[in-house]
Symmetry: C2
Subunit: 376 residues, 2 copies
């Protein structure tokens, strides 16, 4: 490069992909408030408020409830590196990319991974998960994805949590795409470690991973034989910064935490029930519009997420080209398929701020034009 | 909690601690620009520009030059987890908190750590480092901190880099507090992995860790026996997202990257030499003002960082109380001492946007009043 680049001006987009979602102007304003120190008394008080507000969203009384200084995958890694030691058994449900990713993360912790699989687009069989656990009752954890971002499947959790509740096996749940869009009840469902991301149904830019640890999950991390393999994600030390001791660990992403604080206020102002109902009703409207157009949805009704819809494209459509056209002509971003679904589906998000009726209408209208232009 | 918290309004602060530093209004504006997708063609082009601009700052032609999606300590962890495998030897220089942290991170990689130590406030002896390396020529890496944030010591690097250049040992440098404040010349000095943070001399809020890997360092990570123990920080996979393949790995912290892009533009507009000279001359002005007041500086002149000054407090002063008074009455944040220096010193930063003559004058004036009120 020979000269300085011009300022970056992002193009106008409606973010209807699998995340990030659109962000409220209130959150942008919070993000741009003046940076203060990570040990400033005013900042520490704000961190307490973030924890309190996250507890309401997660439905938990867990003391250790905070935001990991990284994106959703850092939340996943935080769950596994703290819960697992080399040689442990981890049972992981796999019906999409994020279940696969959990296996990879668990293997890198030196765990023996036992998988329970289902076809992409279907939920895991809860009975099979429980049977697998009974065959491996010494498993250190059992992990599933609540809302599989690669397919749009909702995984039922209640029965699984009830089965594991009195056991030695920690129940780990990926709520990256569910928190703030559909109910997540950590304490009621007996979840030990639950993590999310900011850029999905919370409508805060990516960069933080809200997470909560039950007392026994925290104790598991603290009482382990060796050190947690990640210094950055070691919750024993992080708990001393987010907790009353306020020991410096690493510099928190200060402005991102301002944004999360404001994003959580917006969620609580709307109310969780109202917010879930908004996602439910507009998701249904999006989906019925697609089936009315003769398009097939990947996921069967009872397991279909309202906030993320996988739709099969008609035969003969060049998925990538049409997705690019949707972006260039209409400014609408949707996601393509991953893995075995690449080229087959679109993933259409209606998360948080994006979940508005005008976006549903715009998407349907743009799709009609594109399908007509493509001769289908 | 029974009601929703009010919006968070940060108090007015002059950030003269060891980081974060003050942030330009241009960077705040960039931070608050509308979020777009992490696979949006416009965003990918901006990532290329961030890499290009970082190469200029690091003084490198390294292809793999990017920003880790975490704070400075995540940069440190990225360096070590990719370079080290269990059983490797790592030589680490320790003369402060961040050298100690490197040991902890290396141990968690299963490495055998050989330390070379110096008293806090003094640089490491380069001859001793080289001798130690000769005694362990099979060492996988030798790591030192360029600007030790816990003491304000500058570590000379050139001779060390020259000694290691033709060897099998990777030269790893922590430039968290140096990049953008004093010269960092990755290629000239033969550094293989160099990482920094955004919230120091780059004056961007915390949340990203700029990093660069030489080809041989990247090759080392790719050709290792087992997987990198961190999925999130595995540069083999991250390189496929930042590189031409653009394979999705994890969702990048989009708005933080907007901010870094703008922060780097500001650095390049000022010019690196001018910027280094500004830090040099104002650091000297701050420091001479302190010695004129009869205060003792921790670090001897040739190794004293201009951007971070450790000053001993007069006997009988309650350091914590006076630091709190400086914050409450004057809105000036400075850092206290860490480890053996707790209660003994203040760490006064003049980094990036904070490095202005009016801040030097304000700090001197506030200090005069506080010392008078404390009867010294």
């Amino acid at each position: 490069m020979s000269e300085i680049y011009p300022p970056f001006e992002p193009p106008r987009r409606i973010l209807m992909g699998p995340g990030p979602s659109n962000v409220s102007s209130r959150v942008y304003r919070a993000l741009a408030r003046p940076t203060i120190g990570h040990l400033d008394p005013a900042f520490l008080e704000m961190m307490n408020q973030v924890s309190d507000q996250l507890r309401l969203l997660f439905g938990t009384a867990n003391r250790l409830t905070f935001a990991v200084s990284g994106t959703g995958s850092a939340g996943m890694e935080t769950a596994f590196v703290n819960a697992l030691e080399a040689g442990d058994t981890a049972i992981v449900g796999v019906n999409g990319v994020f279940g696969q990713r959990m296996c990879s993360v668990a293997e890198r912790c030196g765990a023996r991974v036992v998988t329970v699989e289902a076809p992409w687009g279907e939920p895991l069989d809860v009975g099979e998960l429980i049977d697998t656990w009974r065959a491996h009752e010494d498993a250190r954890l059992l992990a599933v994805v609540h809302a599989e971002t690669s397919t749009g499947v909702r995984q039922p959790l209640e029965e699984l949590g009830a089965a594991l509740r009195e056991s030695e096996t920690l129940f780990v749940v990926d709520a990256v795409t569910s928190l703030g869009g559909i109910p997540v009840r950590v304490d009621d469902w007996g979840i030990d470690i639950c993590y999310s991301g900011t850029q999905k149904c919370l409508s805060v830019p990516p960069g933080l991973a809200p997470i909560t640890f039950s007392e026994r999950a925290l104790e598991r991390s603290r009482s382990r034989g060796g050190s947690v393999q990640s210094w950055y994600l070691d919750v024993g030390m992080i708990a001393s910064y987010w907790g009353a001791e306020r020991s410096y660990h690493h510099t928190a992403p200060i402005n991102m935490l301002y944004a999360l604080h404001e994003g959580l206020r917006i969620v609580l102002e709307e109310g969780l029930e109202t917010r879930h109902e908004r996602h439910r009703s507009l998701g249904e409207r999006l989906q019925s519009g697609l089936t009315e157009r003769g398009l097939e949805l990947l996921v069967a009704e009872p397991y279909r997420l309202p906030q993320l819809t996988s739709v099969r494209l008609p035969d003969g459509v060049d998925e990538g080209a049409m997705r690019r056209e949707l972006l260039d002509r209409y400014g609408i971003e949707v996601g393509g398929g991953l893995g075995p679904l690449a080229g087959e589906i679109w993933r259409v998000g209606l998360m948080g701020e994006t979940c508005r009726w005008e976006n549903v209408l715009s998407f349907h209208a743009a799709l009609d034009e594109l399908l007509e232009d493509n001769g289908t």
